[in-house]
Symmetry: C2
Subunit: 168 residues, 2 copies
């Protein structure tokens, strides 16, 4: 279940993130302004800008999966400045998530998960997934969405949620 | 696992939501403006205001739990206009969530879950929890947070995430 609730859903949310960034680019083109205005926008002066929100969303997904599987994640340098660079970062993490198999998550529930800033303290894999990784990725995808929405981009809830696997 | 990833975490997020609303109230008081300015704020003219964001966050939690357990949820009339009313709504849903036990979720994984606007289509309980209920509650809590942040309220990521159950 930990694999199912993280890797496929992280992948879906990163694809949705790519999609709302495309909508931002279309809006910038239609209104004839540089898309980098959107990339550097934020909702408060002491908040991370859109670029950083996307980088952290990517890291929440990448590090979330890696830590649950007990492997070392590839490093990204956080040096993206343009939309193509940002989209390449997202695609790179989507590809990385695709390298995980459900069996890589065997034992993830009870795995002790920590990170440097936690000063030796840990969460179990379940706690980490439910209370940390998931709320974090949703926070940064939603904040990216909100920055675009605040700047007039025509994004809606369906763009954020993506397609549902409806059955009849 | 479906109970564990929804009911306790929904409860935690609603408590965090209550907490960030309190920070909004303190800010309004310090700056000597009516807190209803914040309650009616939004990030775009065609976006729901803060009151509606909180109502939908409450409904995502309430209906999420009820549908997974296969029971009918109590109805709320969406008539909150003041901060005390809004906080009472949140407290009411937190209390409702507390009425569920893990065994109420037996069979939830495979339960067919639908809602009127889905026109007879359904999701399995797992799909509903992972792809619909969770992203929705995080979306509306984060959007509430963003509206406050955009208006100068000193909320930070820790207020959104809440306490982590760290172990040594």
């Amino acid at each position: 279940m930990l694999y199912e609730m993280t890797v496929p859903q992280f992948t879906k949310m990163l694809k949705n993130l790519n999609h709302i960034l495309d909508k931002g680019a279309q809006f910038a083109e239609a209104k004839k302004f540089d898309v980098e205005v959107l990339l550097n926008a934020r909702l408060a002066p002491d908040q991370f800008n859109l670029i950083r929100q996307v980088q952290i969303a990517c890291d929440s997904a990448k590090l979330g999966a890696a830590r649950l599987a007990g492997v070392e994640a590839p490093v990204h340098e956080d040096n993206e400045k343009t939309l193509p660079e940002l989209k390449a970062r997202i695609d790179d993490v989507i590809k990385y998530l695709g390298s995980f198999k459900p069996e890589d998550f065997n034992g993830a529930h009870e795995r002790k998960i920590s990170q440097p800033r936690w000063e030796g303290k840990y969460l179990t894999g379940s706690e980490f997934a439910i209370e940390h990784a998931l709320p974090n990725i949703y926070f940064h995808v939603t904040t990216t969405y909100s920055i675009l929405r605040n700047n007039g981009v025509d994004v809606g809830k369906k763009d954020y949620l993506g397609e549902m696997p409806f059955k009849k």
